[in-house]
C-alpha cells in the first residue's frame, strides 16, 4: 500500500449488506467514529434479493484504513466484506459532464467525444451533456480536455469494483503508473485539484 504525498493510504472495500433502513447510517457512523474517510462510495441493489452491494474507497493513515474491512464485518447487517485493494480487480466510475458548446465549437467537442467513445446524452443550444465510464484517468483526461470549452457541471459516481473472473489482466484502468504498483493494485491518491491527472 503506497503512501500518497499527503501521507494517507487508500483501500478499496467491497461489501454485501442487508437492504434495510438505517444500514447506511450504521456504516457511516462506524466510519465517522473510527476516523475512516470515505473517498468514494457506490451503493445499489445486488443480484441477491434483499441485499445491496457497496463499494467504498477509504483513505486515511495506513494502520487505520487496514482496519476498515474487519470493523465493517462486525456490523450485523454486513453480510460479506472484502478488502480488494491488493487483488486483481476491475473497476469503473461514471461521470456526466455538461460542457458549454456553441455552434462553432460543437463539432470539435463531438470529435473528442467520439475519440473517447462516450455517449452524448443531451444537446442544448448552448451546451451538451456526455456520459463517460471507465477508469479514473480516462475520466480525468476527458474533463481536462473539455475544460477549455467551459465546464458547466461535472457529476461523478463513486467507484464500483469486482474481482476479475480470469487470471489474465484486462485493460489497464489507467491508474497504475509503474509495474511495482500495478502488481499490488496500489492506488496513489492524486493531490491538488480533483480534476488534475
Amino acid at each position: 500500500m503506497a503512501a500518497a504525498a499527503n501521507g494517507t493510504f487508500q483501500r478499496t472495500i467491497a461489501a454485501l449488506v442487508q437492504d434495510r433502513p438505517g444500514v447506511l447510517a450504521r456504516i457511516a457512523g462506524l466510519f465517522r467514529r473510527r476516523g475512516f474517510n470515505i473517498a468514494s462510495l457506490a451503493v445499489g441493489r445486488s443480484e441477491r434479493p434483499g441485499l445491496s452491494r457497496m463499494t467504498f474507497v477509504v483513505e486515511g493513515p495506513e494502520e487505520v484504513v487496514r482496519q476498515v474491512a474487519a470493523q465493517l464485518d462486525r456490523l450485523i447487517d454486513v453480510v460479506e466484506v472484502h478488502d480488494i485493494t491488493e487483488q486483481n480487480i476491475v473497476w469503473r466510475e461514471l461521470a456526466l459532464i455538461k460542457v458549454k458548446a456553441n455552434a462553432g465549437e460543437r463539432s470539435e467537442i463531438l470529435e473528442l467525444a467520439n475519440i473517447f467513445r462516450v455517449n452524448v446524452i443531451d444537446i442544448g443550444v448552448e451546451s451538451l451533456t456526455m456520459e463517460i465510464s471507465g477508469g479514473r484517468q480516462k475520466i480525468d483526461s476527458l474533463i481536462e480536455l473539455l475544460r477549455k470549452f467551459g465546464l458547466e457541471e461535472v457529476i461523478r459516481t463513486g467507484r464500483v469494483a469486482t474481482l476479475r473472473g480470469t487470471l489474465i489482466e484486462g485493460e489497464d484502468d489507467g491508474l497504475f503508473q509503474s509495474d511495482a504498483s500495478k502488481a499490488t493494485y496500489i492506488l496513489p491518491i492524486p493531490t491538488g485539484d480533483s480534476g488534475s491527472v
Partner: protein
C-alpha cells in the same frame, strides 16, 4: 406452533424461551402495555430500579456474574437515554445484555412527540446491534435474534425499541422459527495453522508471559487457563478485567499490569520474549505508548474478534476463535516445560518491586479497608467497584481465590457502576457474598439504588471508601496540573450512616484500623444490605503509576 398474541405477550414469551427469569427496569408511558401483561408471567421477575442507568448496570452485573444475558426495560425518551451509560459500559467490556425500550406509537414517530427519542440512532455506537420493531409479527424473531447476537461471538449489548402500539397489536409468534442472520459469524475453533504457529512460538520461548483478559472470563475458561499455565510454567498476568480468572494465591499469578497495576507485572511484560494474549484488546491503560510497549517480545493474540488483531499492537501470530476452544486445541500442542531462570527472575521482580505497600500508619487508609475485606472474606466474595482510587486499591489488594468474582467498569470507566451492578450480581447469585467497594464520588452517582436493595431484601454490603474527595482527580491535579486543585473536594457529603438508615438499611461507620474486622464481620453476618462508611485519610496517592501514554521507563513507584 405459531401463536396469536399481543406484542407484549410475545415479548414475555420470547424472553421466557430465552431462559430469562429476571429483568431490571422502570416503567413509563410508552412501555406500559408491556408492564400490563407482566402479571400473566409470574416466572419473569421484575426488579424495580430507581433510575434507568441502574437497570442497565444491574443487568450488566447480573450478566457478568452469571454468564447469562442481562435484561433491562425502560420507556421511551428520557428512560431510554438514561440507559445509554449502562449500554456503553457493557459495550466496552463486551457484556451480553438485551435492553427493551418503549417507543412512541408508530404514527407519532418522527413528529417530535412527547418523550420521543431516536434511541436506535442514539445507541448505534454503544450497542452491538439494535432494532426498531414496527410489526408485532416481527417481535418474536427479533428478540431471539437479539439474544443470539448478545451472547455469541464477542458478546455485547443489543437494544430493541418497540413502539407503544406494537405492544398492543396482535401478532404471530412462532417460538421455533430459526434465527437467520446471514453473514453473522460466530468464531469457535481456530484455524489449525494459526494454532500451530502460536504453539511454535510458545515452544521456542524462554521468557513467556500470559496476558489473560476479559475473554477468559467471558468464555469461562478458568480451568483451561490454569491447565495451560501449569503445563507451560508460564507466569499469568491478568488485565484489570481479567482479574479473578486465575487464582491470585497461585505461584504463577503475577498481578495486573499497566497504569496502576503492579510494577512487577508491567516489568514482566516488558522483559518477556513472548506475550501470549488470551482475550485482551491491548487496552491503552496496559500498553501506554504503543511504540515502546514490550519491544523485545513476540506477541500472540488470541481473540474472538478479528478486528482487535493489530488494532493497538502489531502481533507475530494471531489466533481467531473462542478462547475455550482455542485452549482445547492449543494446550495439547505445547510442550510441558519449565522456565526456571525466568520464574526466578519474576520472583526477583516481585521482591524488588513489591507494588502493594500497605501504609504503616495509625490512620485509616483505603488499602487497609480492602486488605481487611480480603482477609475477612478469604478472597471469596463477589466484588464490584466504581472507577478511581478505590477501584485500583480493590484490584491491587483484594486477593481473589474464586473465579469470576470481579465486576468493574474497565473500558468505559463508569463511576457509579458499583452500586447497581452489585444488586444485579446479588440477584444472580443469591448464595454468594457480594461486596460493593465504592468511592464517595461514584456512590453518590447511583446511591438511589439503595432503595432497590432494601425493597428486594438484597444483602449487598456497600463499603464506601470515603475521603470526601475525588481521590484520583486530586492525584492527577497534584501530578500533572501543578497541584492546582479544582472541584475535587466534596464538602457537602451526606452522613452515609444516616443515609443508609433513611433507606431502612443498616449503617456502620469505621474510622480506625482496629474497627475494621469487627465491622466487616458484623456486615457479613447481617441478613440484609449494609452500608459501611469507611472514613479514610483525605489524600493518599496511588502507586505504582505509569502516566497516560507513557511506558515502563516512566514508571513511578511508591516513594515511601
Amino acid at each position: 406452533m405459531s401463536k396469536n398474541l399481543t406484542g407484549s405477550q410475545i415479548v414475555c414469551e420470547a424472553l421466557l424461551k430465552e431462559g430469562v427469569s429476571v429483568v431490571f427496569g422502570i416503567p413509563g408511558g410508552a412501555i406500559l402495555p408491556l408492564y400490563g401483561v407482566l402479571s400473566q408471567y409470574p416466572d419473569l421477575r421484575h426488579i424495580l430500579v430507581r433510575h434507568e442507568q441502574g437497570a442497565a448496570h444491574a443487568a450488566d452485573g447480573y450478566a457478568r456474574s452469571t454468564g447469562t444475558v442481562g435484561v433491562a426495560f425502560a420507556t421511551s425518551g428520557p428512560g431510554a437515554t438514561n440507559l445509554i451509560t449502562g449500554l456503553a459500559t457493557a459495550m466496552m467490556d463486551s457484556v451480553p445484555m438485551v435492553a427493551i425500550t418503549g417507543q412512541v406509537g408508530r404514527s407519532a414517530i418522527g413528529t417530535d412527540a412527547f418523550q420521543e427519542t431516536d434511541i436506535t440512532g442514539a445507541t448505534l455506537p454503544v450497542t452491538k446491534h439494535n432494532y426498531l420493531v414496527m410489526r408485532a409479527d416481527d417481535l418474536g424473531r427479533t428478540i431471539h435474534e437479539a439474544f443470539h447476537i448478545a451472547r455469541t461471538g464477542r458478546s455485547g449489548p443489543v437494544l430493541i425499541d418497540i413502539p407503544k402500539d406494537v405492544f398492543i397489536e396482535m401478532g404471530n409468534y412462532d417460538p421455533d422459527e430459526p434465527v437467520d442472520l446471514p453473514g453473522y459469524k460466530v468464531p469457535g475453533k481456530a484455524d489449525e495453522a494459526q494454532i500451530d504457529a502460536a504453539a511454535k512460538l510458545i515452544n521456542e520461548s524462554e521468557r513467556p508471559v500470559i496476558l489473560a483478559g476479559h475473554g477468559v472470563v467471558l468464555s469461562r475458561s478458568f480451568d483451561e487457563l490454569r491447565e495451560f499455565a501449569e503445563k507451560t510454567q508460564t507466569p499469568v498476568i491478568t488485565t484489570l478485567l481479567g482479574i479473578s480468572s486465575f487464582p491470585e494465591n497461585h505461584v504463577l499469578s503475577t498481578g495486573f499490569p499497566g497504569m496502576h497495576g503492579m510494577a512487577y507485572a508491567s516489568l514482566a511484560l516488558d522483559q518477556a520474549d513472548l506475550i501470549i494474549n488470551f482475550g485482551s484488546r491491548f487496552d491503552d491503560r496496559i500498553v501506554g505508548d504503543a511504540k515502546r510497549f514490550s519491544t523485545g517480545s513476540k506477541k500472540i493474540h488470541v481473540d474472538i474478534d478479528p478486528a482487535e488483531i493489530n488494532k493497538m499492537i502489531t502481533v507475530d501470530a494471531a489466533v481467531i476463535g473462542n478462547i475455550k476452544d482455542v485452549f482445547a486445541q492449543l494446550t495439547p500442542k505445547v510442550n510441558k516445560t519449565t522456565h526456571v531462570e525466568w520464574l526466578q527472575h519474576i520472583e526477583h521482580l516481585k521482591a524488588e518491586h513489591p507494588s502493594l505497600r500497605i501504609p504503616e500508619t495509625d490512620r485509616l487508609m483505603g488499602q487497609h479497608v480492602v486488605k481487611a475485606l480480603s482477609d475477612v472474606t478469604k478472597g471469596d466474595a463477589i466484588i464490584t467497584t466504581g472507577v478511581g482510587q478505590h477501584q485500583m486499591w480493590a484490584a491491587q489488594h483484594y486477593q481473589f481465590t474464586n473465579a469470576n468474582s470481579w465486576l468493574t467498569s474497565g473500558g468505559l470507566g463508569t463511576m457509579g457502576y458499583e452500586v447497581p451492578s452489585a444488586i444485579g450480581a446479588q440477584v444472580g447469585n443469591p448464595g454468594r457474598l457480594v461486596w460493593s467497594i465504592c468511592g464517595d464520588g461514584g456512590f453518590q452517582m447511583t446511591m438511589m439504588e439503595l432503595a432497590t436493595a432494601a425493597e428486594n431484601h438484597l444483602p449487598v454490603k456497600y463499603a464506601i471508601l470515603n475521603n470526601n474527595h475525588l481521590g484520583m482527580i486530586t492525584q492527577w491535579q497534584s501530578f500533572f496540573y501543578d497541584g492546582d486543585y479544582q472541584a475535587e473536594t466534596y464538602t457537602g457529603n451526606p452522613d452515609f450512616v444516616k443515609l443508609a438508615e433513611a433507606y431502612g438499611i443498616k449503617g456502620i461507620r469505621v474510622t480506625k484500623q482496629n474497627e475494621l474486622e469487627g465491622a466487616i464481620r458484623e456486615a457479613n453476618a447481617h441478613d440484609g444490605p449494609v452500608v459501611i462508611d469507611f472514613v479514610i485519610e483525605k489524600v493518599d496517592d496511588l502507586y505504582p503509576m505509569i502516566p497516560a501514554g507513557q511506558s515502563i521507563e516512566e514508571l513511578i513507584e511508591d516513594p515511601n
